[in-house]
C-alpha cells in the first residue's frame, strides 16, 4: 500500500510520493493532525470524488531462474493429464496403457488449438472407403481415451465443424499442415468471424515439421468479425479472448458494461488451483519409456 512516506518536516506541507492523489496539505504543528492527514493521503481516487476503486495487489510471478529457455521443450498431450477427481489413479494408469498402445500403431502428432490438420478417416459410405478432411483445430477436450478435437473449415460457403475422437480406430492418419498456436485456447469465436479466417485449402502443402526443442510459434493474428449480434458475447471476461480486436466493435461504454461480468477473484481462488507440474513430469517419463519399448 503506497502511503505518504516521506515527510520533510512536521510543520511543512505533506506531499504524496506516489503521485496519485494531489493532496497538498499545510500541516499545523499538532502531532495528531499529522497522522490523520497521512491516512487521507492514502486514498487512490481519481480525483473526481468517486469512491476509491480497489486495486488488487499484483499476483507474485515466480520466475524459475534455474531452468533456461534453451532447454528441450517437453510436450505432453493434454489428455494424459488426469483431472482432479476422486477417481483411483490406478484407473488412469490402465487407460494410459491403452492410449500408448494406440500411439504405437498410429502417429498422433503434437498439435495445438490453432494448428491446421488433415485427418484421414475410414468411412463406409465414401468412395475409396476413406475420407480426408482439412481444418483448423478449434477445441481440444476430454481426458484419457475419450479425448476429442474439433476441426473447422468452410466448404462451398458452408461452415463445417467435425469432432474427432483422437483414439478412434477409424482414424487412419493425422497430419499437421501448419504447426502453430493462437492467442486463445478455444477458437469457437471463428463461427462469428469473417469466413476468410476459417477457410483452408484442402490441397494445402504441409509446413516443414518443427524441430524437437523449438518453441511453438504463436500466431498473433486478430480476427475480424461479422456484424453483431454474435452467437456468444465474446467480449465478456469469462471467455478470456485475446484474438478479437474489441476496440473496433465496441465503444468505451460498452466495454465498461461488459466488465460488469468480470470475476477477478477467480484468479486468487486457492481451491481452484491445480498444479500439474509434478504429475506431468511422472507421466511424461512413463509415456516416453513405454513408447520406446
Amino acid at each position: 500500500m503506497a502511503a505518504c512516506k516521506s515527510v520533510s518536516k512536521m510543520n511543512s506541507t505533506i506531499r504524496c510520493l506516489n503521485g496519485c492523489c494531489k493532496c497538498v496539505v499545510a500541516a499545523p504543528s499538532h502531532p495528531r493532525f499529522f497522522q490523520v492527514a497521512l491516512s487521507r493521503c492514502v486514498s487512490t481516487d481519481g480525483g473526481n470524488g468517486d469512491p476509491p476503486k480497489f486495486q488488487p495487489p499484483p499476483k507474485p510471478v515466480m520466475i524459475d531462474k534455474s531452468k533456461t529457455e534453451a532447454s528441450h521443450r517437453r510436450f505432453l498431450s493434454p489428455e494424459f493429464i488426469p483431472p482432479r477427481q476422486r477417481t483411483n489413479p490406478f484407473k488412469f494408469a490402465i487407460e494410459r496403457k491403452d492410449m500408448i498402445q494406440r500411439r504405437k500403431i498410429i502417429d498422433i502428432p503434437e498439435f495445438y488449438v490453432g494448428s491446421v490438420l488433415a485427418v484421414v478417416m475410414a468411412d463406409v459410405y465414401a468412395s475409396g472407403k476413406s475420407n480426408r478432411f482439412v481444418g483448423i483445430c478449434t477445441q481440444r477436450s476430454g481426458k484419457g481415451l475419450g479425448a476429442t478435437f474439433v476441426l473447422r473449415n468452410i466448404i462451398d460457403g458452408q461452415g463445417v465443424e467435425i469432432c474427432y475422437d483422437l483414439y478412434s480406430p477409424r482414424i487412419q492418419q493425422i497430419e499437421v499442415l501448419k504447426f502453430e498456436k493462437r492467442l486463445d485456447d478455444n477458437l469457437m469465436y471463428l463461427r462469428d468471424a469473417l469466413p476468410e479466417y476459417s477457410t483452408f485449402d484442402f490441397d494445402m502443402k504441409a509446413m516443414p515439421p518443427p524441430l524437437p526443442g523449438a518453441e511453438v510459434p504463436i500466431n498473433q493474428q486478430k480476427v475480424k468479425m461479422k456484424p453483431r449480434p454474435w452467437s456468444k458475447r465474446w467480449e465478456r471476461s469469462r471467455f478470456n479472448i485475446k484474438g478479437i480486436p474489441f476496440e473496433l466493435y465496441f465503444t468505451e461504454e460498452e466495454l465498461t458494461h461488459a466488465k460488469k461480468w468480470d470475476t477477478p477473484w477467480v484468479e486468487y481462488d486457492m481451491l481452484k488451483e491445480y498444479d500439474t507440474s509434478n504429475v506431468e513430469k511422472h507421466i511424461w517419463t512413463e509415456v516416453q519409456r513405454e513408447l520406446s519399448k
Binding site: 476422486r86 490402465i94 498402445q101 500403431i105 498410429i106 481415451l145
Partner: protein, 346 residues
Amino acid sequence: MAVRSCRLFSWIGGCLTKRDLICGKTVNINRGPCWFFVRSVKSSTWWDEHLSEENSQFLRRLIPEEYNALANSKLCPLKDEPWPQQPWVEGSLRVGLIAVKLGMMPVWTKSGERHVVSLLQVEDCHVIKYIPKEEYDGKSAALFVGGKVSSPFSRSESLLQMYRDAGVPPKQKLSTFKVSDNAILKPGTPLYAAHFRPGQYVDVTAKTIGKGFQGVMKRWGFKGQPASHGQTKTHRRPGASGPGGKPARVWPGKKMPGQMGNIYRTSFGLKVWRINTKHNIIYVNGSVPGHRNCLLKVRDTNLPTRMEHNKNPPFPTFFADGEEQLPEDLYDEEMFQFSEPSIVYS
C-alpha cells in the same frame, strides 16, 4: 472406578426430571429413570478406548500389513483340499463376485462403433460361509461372499468370528448369492475376475448415489409450474395429489418428495467386453449404479434372452492355482484391440 462412576450417573439419571435433562424429543414426564442416556462399561466400548496411544497406532499399522501379507500368500501348504468340483449343467446357478467401481472408458468394436464401458475391479474377493439349502430357504443353498478388506475394529464379535472361521480378513461388503448344489465352494476360496468371460452377460447391483431428501421435480420428473405469469409461491410443487371425491383419499404409493438415491438398484443384461486377469478388472458395458470406488455385487444375468451367451462358464469358479494359464487380457471377439492396425472398410 469406571463402573462406579457409571452407576453414579444412572442414579442421578433416575433422580433428574424432564426439565433438568436436555433431550431433543418430547419425553413422557412419567417415564422411569433415564438410565438409557447413560452408557455403562459392560454394554459398549470402542476398540481403542482402553489402549494407550502408542498401542493403538501400532495396531493400526500392523493389521493392514498382516492382511496384505495374507492376501498375497495365495498358495498356503497348510490349506486343505477344495471341495469336489462338478461340471456345468444347464440351469445351474454359480456364485458371483464383489467388485469396486473404478470409472468409465470408451471402447470401439471392429466395425468402428463406439460404446462406453465401466471398469470394475475385483479386490480380495473371498467366499466367507456356506449355508446349506435346509438352513437358508429350503430351495437353494447360499454362499456369503465378501469384498474389499477393511479394518477389524468397530465390528461385532460374531461377525469377526465368521471371518476367522473362513481364514480371511474382515471385508467391507458381505453379500449373499443363491447357488445351485453343484456350484458350492469351500469358505476361504478366493474369487477372481476370470470367473467371468468376455461375451457373457452380467447383472450388477449397487447402492445408487444418494441425493438426500429431494423434491418431486428431481425425484419423479414432474414438470412443476411456470416461473412467472402470476404464480404465487408455486414453482416446483407437485400440484394436485389425486382425482377427487370418488376415492376421496390419496392412493398409497403416490409420488411425493422424499429420500432419493442410496438404495440398491440392479442394471440387467450388461455385456462383458474384456477381462484383465493380471489386475482383476472386468469391463462391463454401459453404466452401473453407484459412485466411483463403491462396492458392487456382480452375478450372471437372469434375463432369459441373454442366458444363452452364458453357456459353459468356468464352473464352479476360476481357480488361479489350476493348470489353466490365461493371457493377461481376454477380449470379446467383436472388440477392437489397440494392438491391431486401424480399421479399413472394404
